[in-house]
């Protein structure tokens, strides 16, 4: 009796394990990849793994100073467009001054973080994927592994770290650019006074909107770095594989940024902020 029970239990467990690993067939690799990142981060902190300072500085420069201009330009235009659309509608109700609130809240809470993330997905996410995919097809990643190096600590962590640190900084510039775009339209088209516009805008910065936007931009930075590295390292070892990895990294980053933004909106709504 006991033998039968134990045989049945073993059989059920084995079947369950087979089902599980069949189901995990694809995602298994992704889970290993995700698991390695915190482990490698710990290895770096405890100095068991090497940190590539020159690479880190190069990547950081690439996604900060060299990206600043385009981030500012895009957000200036988005701020101006919002003000333009808002002004036409709000003027109908004689509530023109509220265009400052409209631009301020939508920029600081949503658009600055999302637009910056989209620009950076196209710039840095694509660059990460292309660079790592090329390294993969040149067997450079294999050469690192043969040396016993922690490839996640050497290739992935510095890139994710750079974007996670830089994106919130770019977000601040993006907010400023968006508000400036709104100001230009409001004062130029609607004859609002600059001081009135800036007074209303300043009120927004002390609300939770700014904190929400900044938190989002940190998460977006992490997400874009992660996606770029993942598609780069899993690319097939051909020239076409590099192109495909780049495209998929950009598309996936943008989709995930929007999905995460929606999740944030739901959470913020549930929390009442």
């Amino acid at each position: 009796m006991a033998v039968q029970v134990s045989e049945t239990v073993t059989g059920v467990l084995a079947a369950a394990q087979a089902r599980l690993s069949a189901w995990l067939g694809g995602p298994e690799e992704a889970i290993t990849f995700l698991g390695r990142i915190p482990l490698s981060a710990v290895a770096l902190c405890t100095r068991r793994a090497r940190f590539p300072w020159p690479d880190f500085l190069r990547v950081t420069l690439q996604c900060s100073a060299q990206a600043l201009l385009i981030v500012i330009a895009v957000n200036l235009l988005v701020g101006a467009i919002l003000a333009f659309v808002g002004a036409v509608q709000l003027n109908k109700f004689g509530a023109g001054i509220y265009v400052a609130d409209l631009v301020g809240i939508s920029m600081v809470r949503e658009m600055a973080a999302v637009m910056t993330a989209v620009v950076m997905a196209g710039r840095s996410g694509a660059a990460f994927a292309a660079e790592l995919a090329t390294m993969q097809s040149n067997e450079e990643v294999d050469a690192l592994e043969v040396l016993g190096m922690d490839t996640a600590a050497w290739l992935v962590v510095p890139r994710i770290l750079a974007l996670t640190v830089i994106l919130p900084l770019l977000y601040v510039f993006a907010c400023a650019a968006g508000l400036l775009g709104g100001l230009l339209v409001a004062t130029g088209m609607m004859n609002l006074s600059e001081s009135a516009y800036l007074d209303r805008s300043a009120l927004i910065l002390i609300t939770p909107h700014f904190a929400i936007g900044a938190t989002k931009s940190v998460c977006f930075g992490f997400l874009i770095g992660l996606t770029g590295c993942w598609y780069g390292l899993t690319a097939s070892r051909t020239a076409a594989g590099v192109g495909e990895a780049t495209t998929r990294a950009v598309v996936a980053s943008i989709v995930w940024v929007i999905v995460l933004d929606a999740v944030f909106a739901l959470c913020a709504h549930a929390l009442g902020v």
């Binding site: 090497r50 020159p54 390294m135 040149n138 067997e139 450079e140 294999d142 043969v146 016993g148």
Partner: protein
């Protein structure tokens, strides 16, 4: 280390031993039933037509590809049965030259070698600089230390990657087509360099090559992998393979001829016209 392998190599423990190894990509078989041992200070050739799985075999020896079955033993320790720390330790005893050179493109040649040295040795800064200069001089790239891989020619990349592979003085060197794409003079120099490395460091060398002169000049032992039957069809030095093997593929390969009977028609029609005389390999005898 068990009794069986002691019996096979009574004089000394092989640096590397492979037992009944089988390699697959998914359900597609690449090679199976590969067994061989590499004695210390041997130059061991892996030979076979393109696509027969030579690079794949090297990758599985060095831990980059999990074999479908069989064992890879380093000095008696089973690589694929070992824990991750021991695997890492075993792997760092191998210097690998990849078929594509695999230099890290974001670093200069010197930095490439330096990273390998920092990872494999405990040398200080000054000692590393000396060692880098030494290995670069060895491969004839003294003047190219601060070049990036993209600024080197294909042959120079191979040499730089060889410098990186030998920098840590590994007891086992794995070279994937070291002389592919080299001119005859450089190729000949490279053969001399490999012999020189062996005599200076006492390392065993496993190399993959299609260059008949190199094979005859260098290899003490070897294995011939067949692409059709997907298993090894000859063992021993190239000269022994030629002397003792009954396999037409081995003879055709070693004499640089087209396969006589079973070869597809287009190959038969064109190849003899460009193939040299049967005994051309005799013109490049080994030392």
């Amino acid at each position: 280390m068990d009794a069986a392998s002691q019996i096979r190599t009574p004089s000394s423990l092989p640096v590397l031993e492979v037992r009944e190894l089988a390699l697959r990509f998914g359900s597609r078989l690449v090679q199976e039933r590969m067994s061989f041992a590499v004695a210390p200070r041997t130059i061991f050739a892996i030979v076979g037509v393109s696509g027969c799985g030579k690079s794949t075999l090297l990758r599985s020896l060095i831990g980059l590809m999990v074999p479908a079955s069989g064992q890879v033993l380093y000095g008696g320790a089973d690589y694929w049965a070992a824990g991750s720390a021991q695997r890492k330790h075993l792997r760092t005893g191998c210097g690998m030259l990849f078929q594509s050179a695999a230099l890290w493109s974001s670093m200069t040649v010197e930095q490439n070698i330096d990273l390998a040295l920092r990872q494999l040795t405990t040398l200080g800064e000054a000692q590393r600089v000396t060692r880098i200069a030494e290995v670069l001089a060895w491969v004839g790239l003294e003047k190219f230390g601060n070049f990036r891989p993209a600024d080197l020619s294909g042959g120079m990349k191979k040499h730089a990657a060889l410098a990186r592979a030998i920098a840590g003085a590994p007891p086992l060197l794995l070279l994937d087509e070291p002389s592919a794409g080299l001119d005859p003079i450089s190729s000949c120099n490279l053969d001399a360099l490999i012999l020189d490395i062996r005599s200076r460091t006492g390392a065993a060398v496993i190399f993959v090559s299609h260059e008949l002169p190199s094979l005859f000049a260098l290899a003490d032992d070897g294995i011939f992998l067949d692409a059709d039957s997907k298993r090894p069809i000859a063992h021993g030095s190239p000269r022994d393979m030629l002397a003792h093997s009954q396999e037409p593929t081995v003879h055709a390969f070693m004499r640089r001829q087209a396969l006589p009977a079973s070869a597809p028609a287009p190959v038969r029609a064109t190849a003899p016209a460009i193939a040299p005389a049967p005994d051309q390999t005799r013109a490049h005898p080994g030392p």
